[in-house]
Amino acid sequence: MNKFAFVDCKTVDEALGQLGDGATVKAGGIDLLDLMKDDIVFPAKLVNIRNVDSLRGITVSADGLQLGPLSTLSEIADHPEIQRSYSALSDAAGHAATPQVRNMATLGGNIMQRPRCWYFRSTDVDCKKKGGGSDECHAQAGENQYHAIMNNSTCAMVHPSSTAVPLLGMDAQVELTSKRGKRMVLMSNFYVPPEKSVINETVVQPGELITGIFVPAPAPGTRSAYQKYGEKESFDWPIADAGVVLVMDGALCRKASVVLGVAAPTPIRSKAAEAVLTGKTIDEATARAAGKAAMQDATPLSQNGYKVQLFQTAIYRTVLLAAGQMQRDPSAIG
């Protein structure tokens, strides 16, 4: 690990004043400290925002759900209102990592995780994502069993944030604050695909801090669910995960969001799957058709063709779970 300065802040202004000059924001520190210990990142300064009280808190109103970025995954998972009205989000927060990690990990940190790719996370390997001059993506012709099966021609990483999946499906917005002011960014614009920038995964600029996450109130009849699949249930990274938000009118689906987590380098919505569901009665056949449609453009690599099958299953089972037609899948994580 490199030597670094550590600044403990109590207010947003204090934190903003410390940003810049190679500073990195530290909240729960779950992913960041791992990356530092493995010599993948070398921040000169850590700006600790864990003690900025104004970044905590969960508020539910008629407009929607206001989440402080320091809300822990456990707080989100255990919140009765979120469980009731934003169930995909509580599913996602409640099934990430382990109970111990969920007690430390924050929502802001969860969506700001760096990607999963063992080449990216190896000290000994350079790749184009690391910006060290290499223009290779080793995963494409290498060991890629956990890598992206869509949009993977530039960089085949996957983004592991489970909460980003429902947040994208629920049209959430992220509030970014800098010395220049605030801006709201839709989740659909928050992540940057590798084609646009192979180095940065998000639109967050140096000097900006996530100061809130807002989820608009669900339309009447909304039902949602999230499920995540791994090789094992205890503490595993997802190999497929799906978030589904359905606006139901009786058995009829008026509107659908189908979001795929680790299918592509960033979480993506599947318009094809949504089209299959919209205006239809939800049953197993439609749900399966949605799963198939979502995978029609998949471009699996040499070792991850199985993820295409797995995503089809994840989507159909999560659609049925959201629609209340299936129990939570025992094959899903935790």
Partner: protein
């Protein structure tokens, strides 16, 4: 490893040696379920009388709380990683960043200049790997040839771990890189890069592993080691049914919770070595060899041990580096591997096995043929023929085992070396045979298996599991399919005669046991306390057990499940003899003779007058000296019979055919380890073996990058090990199997404890669930969906 060819170093299946006075004793013999019998044996005169069955004993055979459980649970138990000595330095190993090549130069100057760095040592010889039969072929170099990424190169010692870690990064190594190969199949090609420039062999450790040295080598292919019995061509010709099969297993790393490591305090008079080891004796021997020291000047201490699974014997590179650093810095040095290094230091080799079995229509086996290829990286020891050779009655057998060298970390003995791989292939092929013969898999084994213990164990499976309700293969409708399967294991009775101890009785009534034997976590301290306690009528928790220190009488290295079978007879003998000395010393003061004294219900009584009864303390108070003691060494086995142990494990599972996830729901195991001394400890080891077996079957695999030669998942995030949610319902039935071989009849359970069978049992249950045979582990979603034909698998190993 067949009993007839088994050569665990320093261990022997001992027979009664040259004439010494003996007497004839009658021993309890057999398995209670079959009706116990009596067996006559000639035993040396100073042996204690035969033990009755467990049901008649006070402490032996009774569930007993782990002797050091509270110390472990409260953190009082100090492992090697916890050792702190005054002035101790911390070290980090520098290892190779290329998989193959020569070191041109090593520049340690920047590391040495870093404030806090006290010593840097560059390795001269690499231990634990195969060595060239002709070392000159490597060419002249100051440095060992690099043959795998992660090979140790140097060590750095500093005043803090952080400084040592930083300094390790400052050691600059210049390489002349050579072509390399990390894939077993590619390494077999005639034009593959040669890992060694000529034939090379690896000796086994005290835990087994290693491979044969007298076999041919072509390119990277070392072998075959051929074993032959009868005439397989004739056997196959006589068969009514033939089964041919092909199976693949992966590389599993040991992943001990406590990484490999040492604290070495090099002093001119004595070198003190705190070692995370399975063999204090093996560490002392290798230190003596490497440093040309008399063994008497080396002290090895292993009080608590955080897991070894076969990979922790001898000094190893870590011990040698720590010792050199300590000598150079004139201070104690702690060197523990980091987690990445722990994954690279040792592993269970992979395998590609081709089996052919012939049988008569009634199931009688006529021939078995096995060809196996496996890579132990830069080591050898990938053979898998143990189960095929030693499980069933078959007159004709031919096995060819090949090691394939690759530029990857060395294999090492790993809990039942060769057997989990071998069993995965062999016990599934036996199941395939049962399908072809239209026989119940248990009934087929009943026909071909001569082991009385496994016969009883199969009966327990029938009585206590759902086996009779097993449905035909793949008959469940819907995507979730349920199935049941069984598999059997075989392991061998090895005995290490370097098993000694001393029992002291003090005037205040306390009793101490001392031996250099170490407790790996299997519960050795507990069983020794039970045995001493039984002799003295004293609760085991009150016996003081001091082990894991070579200042005490020599103990056996713990590999191949030898510990309980080797050391417990010496302990009982010493306790019995110490008691004899005590009685002789106090009898005059008690007004009787020694032979009139006995222990009964925790008291010392007169045999001829039960009303005369004393506490042990009242008796020891009469000792004329403050302490008496007796030392004993393992007496030879009472018979030349070569015994094996075995278990039968049953698995019930569900396969989700749309996600490729396997849910193991229930495991029932029936197991044999001679006379169980502490059923709690034995069952605990079996639980652990089963979980490690499930983990091997479903999750664990080393993933190598073909292009860089690195292990990509040398961490605990992507090297996946079973966790709490993957633990099924487990039930263990322990059978007592009295063998009349020693004064305790104890045996170890480490190897045959489920690690051997679970992958095969899961494979057989998978077949029963789906009608599809899984030929590859780990059974991850990727491999399962490919096995079910739902995904085209593009990369075949």
């Amino acid at each position: 490893m067949a009993p007839e060819t088994a050569t665990l170093e320093g261990q022997q299946v001992a027979a009664t040696p040259a004439k010494q006075p003996t007497r004839t004793d009658n021993f309890v013999f057999g398995i209670p379920q079959d009706g116990l019998q009596t067996k006559q044996r000639e035993v040396p005169l100073d042996e204690p009388p035969p033990l009755p069955p467990n049901s008649e004993l006070t402490y032996i055979g009774k569930p007993t709380q782990r002797y050091d459980g509270p110390a472990k649970a409260t953190g009082k138990g100090k492992y090697t990683a916890d050792v702190q000595l005054p002035g101790m330095l911390y070290a980090r190993m520098v290892d190779a960043t290329i998989p193959h090549g020569h070191i041109m130069s090593i520049d340690t100057s920047a590391a040495e200049k870093l404030p806090g760095v006290r010593a840097v040592y560059v390795i001269e010889h690499v231990y634990g790997v195969a060595e060239l039969r002709n070392p000159k072929l490597d060419g002249p170099s100051r440095y060992p040839t690099i043959r795998y990424a992660g090979q140790p190169i140097a060590g750095v010692a500093a005043t803090t771990q952080q400084i040592a870690d930083d300094a390790a990064k400052l050691v600059k190594v210049r390489y002349d890189a050579k072509p390399f190969v990390v894939d077993r199949t590619e390494a077999r090609a005639t034009d593959a890069p040669a890992v060694f420039p000529g034939p090379a062999d690896e000796a086994g450790s005290a835990g087994g592993g290693g491979g044969p040295a007298d076999v041919p080598q072509k390119g990277n292919v070392h072998g075959p080691e051929r074993r032959k019995r009868g005439d397989t061509a004739k056997g196959f010709a006589e068969a009514d049914v033939l089964v041919e099969s092909e199976y693949f297993t992966q590389v599993q790393t040991h992943s001990a919770l406590e990484t490999h490591g040492f604290v070495v305090d090099w002093k001119p008079d004595e070198v003190t070595v705190y070692a995370s080891t399975q063999g204090t004796s093996s560490v002392r021997s290798e230190f003596a060899d490497v440093f040309k020291l008399p063994k008497s000047k080396i002290r090895v201490i292993t009080e608590y041990m955080g897991g070894g699974f076969g990979a922790k014997f001898g000094a190893g590179n870590e011990g040698v580096v720590a010792a050199n650093l300590s000598r150079k810095a004139n201070a104690p040095v702690k060197l523990m591997l980091d987690r990445r290094q722990e994954h690279i230091v040792s592993n269970r080799p992979d395998s590609h096995q081709m089996l052919k079995i012939g049988a008569k229509s009634d199931g009688t086996l006529t021939a078995i043929q096995l060809t196996s290829y496996g890579t132990a990286g830069v080591g050898t020891g990938a053979g898998t023929a143990g189960p095929a050779t030693n499980m069933y009655k078959c007159p004709n057998l031919l096995t060819d085992e090949y090691d394939v060298f690759t530029n990857a970390g060395p294999g090492a003995a790993f809990r039942a070396p060769g057997h989990p791989q071998g069993c995965f292939a062999f016990e599934q092929t036996i199941d395939e045979l049962a399908v072809k013969l239209n026989m119940d898999p248990l009934a087929l084994r009943e026909k071909i298996d001569e082991s009385p213990a496994r016969k009883v164990e199969r009966q327990l499976i029938l009585e206590r599991t759902n086996w009779r309700n097993r449905k035909s293969a793949g008959s469940d409708p819907g995507p979730i399919k349920h199935g049941m399967g069984i598999a059997q294991s075989v392991w061998y009775r090895f005995v290490n005669m370097d098993s000694s101890c001393e029992v002291r009785v003090l005037r205040d009534g306390s009793v101490e046991l001392m031996s250099a034997v170490q407790d790996l976590g299997g519960g050795t301290k507990t069983i020794l306390a039970q045995i001493v306690g039984e002799e003295f009528g004293m609760a085991p928790a009150n016996v003081v057990i001091r082990i894991g220190d070579t200042r005490y009488p020599i103990g056996p290295d713990s590999g191949g499940s030898v510990t309980a079978g080797s050391i417990t007879p010496a302990v009982r003998d010493a306790a019995y003899q110490a008691k004899g000395k005590l009685f002789a010393a106090v009898a005059p003061a008690l007004g009787t003779t020694a032979d009139n004294l006995a222990t009964q219900n925790g008291r010392v009584v007169f045999k001829n007058d039960p009303s005369k009864s004393y506490s042990l303390r009242q008796v020891t108070a009469k000792l004329p000296t403050d302490e008496i003691s007796a030392r004993a060494t393992r007496v030879a086995e009472y018979s030349k019979d070569r015994l094996t142990y075995g278990g039968v494990d049953f698995v019930e599972l569900a396969v989700d055919t749309e996600t490729g996830r396997i849910h193991v729901e229930k495991v029932f195991g029936a197991h044999d380890c001679g006379r169980p001394i502490n059923p709690t400890g034995v069952i605990s080891q079996i639980n652990g073996g089963m979980l490690q077996g499930i983990s091997y079957a479903l999750f664990e695999q080393r993933i190598m990058d073909d292009k860089s030669g690195y292990m990509l998942n040398a961490n605990l995030e992507n090297y996946k090990i079973l966790g709490a949610r993957e633990v099924p319902e487990i039930e263990v039935a322990l059978i007592e199997n009295y063998i009349a071989m020693s004064s305790t009849d104890a045996a170890g359970i480490g190897e045959s404890a489920g690690i051997i069978t679970l992958a095969a049992a899961i494979g057989n249950a998978f077949y029963n669930a789906t009608g599809v045979r899984m030929r590859r582990i780990p059974m991850t979603p990727a491999n399962v969906l490919a096995g079910l034909g739902k995904v085209q698998r593009e990369v075949m190993a």
